[in-house]
Subunit: 354 residues, 4 copies
């Protein structure tokens, strides 16, 4: 169990390297009887796909998912859903320059130390290409959770931070711009900024915010498997993520309890929602919302000094087709991981009571 | 599996309510042959104990751990270590006022909805008293990890934020003040502030920073079980935690890749450490450091309005013996959860290679 | 995870050595709202207790279970149920003779090789005393499964084999004799035989048969976690078990398919039940029945030659208070493990469909 | 987690229906650095393949495995090994006769009850075709366990039982006959018998014996995860298996302890091996051997009465291409499952001691 599975009952296991023959996965534990829209899965995958706009990597990969099992006459059968995405545009030669040296702030060095050697082509298993499998599984989870609405969007790129609360935003705007920021003016600024960063051969970080609405009360286990703890792990498992906060988050530490407590309405809803929809690790029926911090992509198209396998310092140069900013393409990944957590915890919650 | 276990190979399972007969746990998977200092375990527990200073809850509980199994002639035997802490100072009557109404931002409401009823005494299982078991297990893990040094401390209380990097601090100062802040001047300010908050019958949030030093290269699994993802889940599973960031964290999103990348020295160490000791989910031998955000404790000793089980609005008043600020007592808990993750991932890392 | 947990959703974790301070366990995942009869748990434990008749070990241990958590006002709360049984009659000196030498067909040798040393007192963790915790958890599981009737009994001791099918037996007779064989005449023969074996200072093997009635259709997962596979593992995990067969078992290999197939009645029940209540790994609503083979207890009160830690041959003599035949006391253990499997699989089966 | 994974550290997850597009799996946790012979994997698969002799099903399927990931320059990388076997010879029309009625002693009925409907083509997920994925994974495990020799063979078909101990057999004979029985005379008898059974349109059961030699001391966890318990579960999870016994097995119940105990030699080996290589759940370095009972295949090519989905009795007729006796093709499956258990427990055993 080298950590390539996620979830207890609704469980995804993935495989695949950036430049191998295929990547894919198995969703085990998906309940029987869900009418599955395979095109909707492909659509989610297209949101993550390279080459979709000028501000993302220009690699051309169709990323077509093939579903091998677990579906019969359009419905899930309760058996595992196996799927694969075949790689078609591997240019392994692009990566010969990193074969023997370690890219700074990449996983190259630790892979070599941990495993004794590594598949260096495109970062191998450490490539964010792996997340394509998560998007497929997340799209299945979303269809299982048809009542719940999960929406992620870019809320910050570098210093450009959208200070609006999610309730003030029009989520319909998210897919109307390549940044996936629901505020059109801010989106335009962000787009310009990312383009300028790209021109420098540099990269920049960002924040994705996510909201899950209409989540039933009672998801989450009280102690180690608190709902927000699992969401946190899910997000932190995405490449380049450096932080996670939900509800009031880091800002909440500055508040007094008297101001931070969410007062109840008679129906059990709360007047405020600094709790972020989770109390004691369990969903309380209010919106769940959280922020995910992404560092700048490590691959910069600039010269840099680094070390070789043999500990020699070398001067080298970043190349290849890379994202100047990871957050636009990471939006569907954040949604997918959220869906996986909620699907799994929905099933777990079926066993609370006799 | 209602979420009361943590870890894959070095695995802690806990039980116990705030006002039940006892709480405790089982550590399964602790390797044989560790000479275990039981007093050192009790010492860690004493750091978490109520009543230890004027700025924490004044409950008096000895919190004495009894070890039932897994030790023979002073050494771990490789069999499960069962332990219990008997409750001695339960004043269940203190809690009759919350029997039928829900305290805002507490778990009362969601427990009732999830399970149909709840053990309301002292918050039952949702009480942070459960973390005593984590401290016991963490103290065992620390002894297993004798080479690794894990240090947590309070870096922020409300708006009082210590802006020093951990490298500038004298960790020996941490236990010299009741706040557990290594900067004596800041500690004194924080102490005064917590006392004033307490006088108001209010509470305040805070941040705990943690550093793990001398961690071997290679801990962490590349995809879902990234080392920092598991650390994040571990921290977010602690009561009152709202956020987690490691290395450059949320500040890192404002940086460019060219500035954020940690350049290598010839020996594989890095000149900077914005990665926070983890690359691609795997420890790289540099210090691991992270921040954990705690919200203000929800129990305020003030009047408030809330709802009853039957949906009626009632006016009530917080009472009992509570912490005005949770972070001083949470320091050993953060260390314990860190130790549990590192112990587990150390064992997992033994299986990387043939 | 050194294998001291059993079950996925209804999960038991145990601790404790034969001569440690206490043994016990944690049941995690027991649904909330079960009215738990604690005396019924103790009663099951008494069925397993030493000293209950002339044909079992004459050790005197009260084996009183204390429940520490997870119960409130007589009902399960959905939180983990921690429990302990304190050891009161350890005579560790009895075991000094095995400190340095290995008893044949015991776990002494492999423990030393695996862990580097062992707690030799009473066999330490390898003692069947550990199964007391299973009986406690099984008794909880039984109460959860109030509709299902689980009955185990002794069907063979040495060559004395009861050739009746379970349907011909009066289960009310089981507890009327110390052997726990439902056929009074055969029980008397078995009792006499065990007594003669005991007089020789020898031991003898036996078979326990078990029937689970009124099991709902649909328990069991199709591939690796087939219901009978988990039952098999559960049984094989009991000390001294050498074999497991269900339905037609080993005798079924001699049959032709045309004779072995269970023909359907119109209501979905089957005219015969060679399937043993499980088809394709899933319960079909018919009675589940199986046999469990127990070897003769390894400790014989006779002289024998063996080796020491240092590889020297020594002449020694078995002593202490031991069972001449393990099956009478193992009947409640077989029932407990069956209950644990069915409780767990009942919860898993709640997640089959959307 | 609907039970499609096997193992803790060396973990196989499978997918695929009999008549879907493909079946396959993911091996997670395979250590890095194993030089993997892909042809050897295909060879194992060929041993399980339909159409290989006159006494097995005459379906023609190439069963070619494609490996998608986890290999680089001929060696395992420590990342998951994804693989698929594409179905090429599905004749779904063959199965239209079972669409609405339930074949006796098949999984048809319970699938419908559990999931609400089923993929009836070729038995869907309940088909033994799923075991092809196990053979692939087992072949990888075998290569990891290069020191250990795992040998399975047919020891009984119907009443034809080979009474020789494995030590008296020449394992080189196993692959020399289509039955996979190492005794050529008995093999010829069995072959004739299976042919006569086939001519009747009937089926017959059998027993596979398996021996694992050169297993290191110390594999197996003492309580629930005893080595033989996991082996038992592994075997019982194979389609059509009805029983498992190891070492002295069911015959051992008739023995006295004084005769059953395996006396030690000075080097820790034992003079006899009724323990079957496992004591207290842990391997002791002696040969591990066990028997696995298979029922007769349920599909008989004869007329039979059964019920439809709507509970009507119908007269129908078995057809299609089926095995008259499952054991010859199940030999590589038994070996594969044995290898999976030993690989997993080898990795677990790395964590016994500090």
């Amino acid at each position: 169990m080298a950590g390539n599975s996620f979830g207890t009952l609704f469980r995804l296991t993935t495989f695949g390297e950036s430049h191998g023959r295929a990547l894919g996965g198995i969703v085990d534990g998906c309940p029987a009887g869900i009418t599955l829209d395979v095109e909707a899965i492909q659509k989610e995958l297209n949101r993550r796909k390279p080459g979709q706009s000028a501000i993302v990597t220009q690699r051309k990969e169709p990323d077509t998912v093939e579903i091998y099992s677990g579906l019969f006459e359009g419905k899930t059968t309760g058996t595992p859903i196996g799927f694969a995405i075949h790689n078609t545009n591997q240019k392994s030669k692009d990566y010969s320059h990193i074969k023997d040296s370690y890219r700074p702030s990449h996983a190259d060095y630790v892979y070599d130390k941990k495993y004794g050697f590594r598949d260096y082509r495109g970062g191998g298993r450490s490539s964010a290409r792996e997340t394509a499998s998560r998007v497929v599984a997340g799209a299945i989870a979303k269809q299982m959770l048809s009542e719940i609405k999960i929406t992620a969007y870019v809320s910050q790129v570098g210093d450009l931070k959208m200070d609006k609360n999610y309730a003030e935003l029009d989520f319909n705007e998210i897919e109307n711009n390549p940044v996936r920021c629901p505020d059109p003016k801010m989106a335009a600024e962000m787009e310009r900024y990312i383009k300028s960063i790209k021109k420098e051969g540099d990269t920049i970080g960002g924040v994705i915010s996510c909201v899950a609405q209409n989540v039933p009360i009672g998801l989450g286990e009280p102690v180690f498997d608190k709902l927000h703890a699992e969401l946190g792990k899910a997000m932190l498992s995405i490449n380049a993520v450096k932080g996670f906060e939900y509800g009031s988050g880091f800002a909440g530490v500055r508040m007094k309890g008297s101001a931070h407590n969410d007062q109840y309405n008679a129906d059990g809803s709360t007047k405020t929602n600094l709790s972020g929809g989770v109390q004691g690790g369990i969903s309380n029926g209010m919106d769940i919302y959280f922020n995910v911090a992404f560092k700048p992509v490590a691959t910069v198209l600039q010269g840099y000094e680094t070390i070789t396998k043999d500990g020699e310092m070398v001067q080298t140069q970043g190349k290849g087709r890379h994202d100047p900013c990871v957050v636009p393409r990471a939006v569907p990944i954040v949604e997918a991981m959220t869906a996986l957590v909620l699907a799994d915890y929905s099933l777990l919650a079926r066993t609370n009571r006799i």
